[in-house]
Symmetry: C2
Subunit: 256 residues, 2 copies
């Protein structure tokens, strides 16, 4: 089954889990087990990309929506747009600030600094819509913990990227974004390097962690059991990285 | 409702061109030649992702900056931020409207409807900064023409996605976006399908064309000669697609 990839080629290898992740589960253990079952293993140079859902579930970031008492304001707004007021209330609690609340869309800045709908709260993939799943409390820390656990189990250090699907201004459809990172730099800075014409590259800081997240999104579907994938063949910049590097400070952001 | 599909691996195979693309060149010819040289070929099911630069060059979308007479307003604004007033002037001419002009950043809506810096005009990869490269006039048409030419040369119909690097609100770094498409649907609509818990997916329209663009961005660097790549193994939705499907109408966009 193991193929050697040609020079320059990148492979996106889905990791299919046999069972649901429950609070307290060892994600590293489940991933290594799934790889072994598929006769795969981590290679030096691999990157692991993981959907936050399994991380959040393992960390027990579940909230019983019955326990949420929405404010009158949340109830009124939710009724207007046929939304679940408890989800709106929870989204506000998980937010640092409200960026837009219009046409039934609530865009917040989360405690981590992500700008997204409903503070990234998810009810779609959790038993029947009665439980909400929050983002990990500190996704960089979650990534670092997973990276260390995998090193311990396999002997190999792989960078870890945790992702979520966000909507975007200006564009239709969701795309994947990095929300946590460990072991590599999220931005590739080509400024000062020269292109094949000798012309200095000016605006070439590339958000490779977000591009890796999107690439992984192609193999990690919502309808399958592959919440993670290996990216093999991408030459990343090693070193400490934090998702904060990907977040544009409010002061230089023209679109808040 | 579609059955849960067995997920497979995706390969991103860069196509390295031997020489620079010049106006009038046949991109289809150069790509097929490069594949043959690398002992590769298109397989049924492949997607071709191409950076717009080679398309724009082949289409002769080059402007000699010496021919541009910037307005007094463009000169004043460019001087304030040490920019090239001719590029600013050209960006304004290529735009439908100005979205933001602040802190030395000019975000426009292009004639095509893309929101990006300087109407997507590029001076970095063209001889020494005296020539500007515009986006293709009609990138969907460019993609359709390339798709037809490849079919003629190889007998295989591959969807074609043309890309450019854009900055994003809220996030640091550039990422790749689809700006032209032919032969596949740019959005994957999972609404109404059910996740493994039987819970109906609500907000799951995925911008797969943008995710494919980002994936390709990982193998198509600015510093190498790989302006295109094959994505092999992604199950796309065939059919006519237009980049317009990816553009959020101004009326429903909260961030203009």
């Amino acid at each position: 089954m193991r193929k050697t990839s040609k020079v320059g080629e990148i492979r996106l290898i889905p990791i299919t889990l046999a069972e649901e992740i429950v609070p307290g589960a060892s994600i590293a253990g489940k991933l290594v087990e799934a790889l072994r079952r598929g006769r795969q293993r981590f290679h030096p140079g691999d990157i692991l990309v993981v959907k936050h859902k399994i991380v959040s579930k393992a960390e027990g970031r579940l909230v019983d929506l019955a326990s949420i008492q929405p404010s009158a304001e949340s109830v009124a707004w939710a009724e207007q747009y046929k939304l679940d007021a408890r989800v709106i209330e929870l989204a506000l609690r998980e937010s640092r600030s409200v960026i837009r609340r219009k046409n039934g869309v609530l865009i917040t800045e989360t405690q981590h600094g992500f700008l997204c709908a409903n503070s990234g709260i998810d009810v779609s993939n959790v038993d029947g819509g009665n439980t909400a799943l929050l983002l990990p409390e500190d996704p960089d820390r979650s990534a670092a913990i997973l990276r260390r656990a995998l090193k311990k189990k396999t002997g190999i250090s792989v960078p870890v990227i945790i992702t979520d699907s966000f909507g975007r201004p200006w564009r239709e459809g969701l795309a994947e974004f990095a929300i946590g990172i460990a072991g590599m730099k999220p931005l590739r800075d080509d400024r000062g390097r020269r292109d094949p014409h000798g012309y200095e590259l000016k605006a070439s800081v590339e958000a490779v962690a977000d591009e890796l997240a999107c690439a992984a999104g192609l193999v990690c579907g919502k309808l399958n059991r592959a919440p993670a994938c290996i990216v093999r063949g991408f030459r990343y910049d090693p070193g400490p990285g934090a998702v904060r590097d990907l977040l544009r400070p409010a002061a230089t952001d023209l679109f808040r």
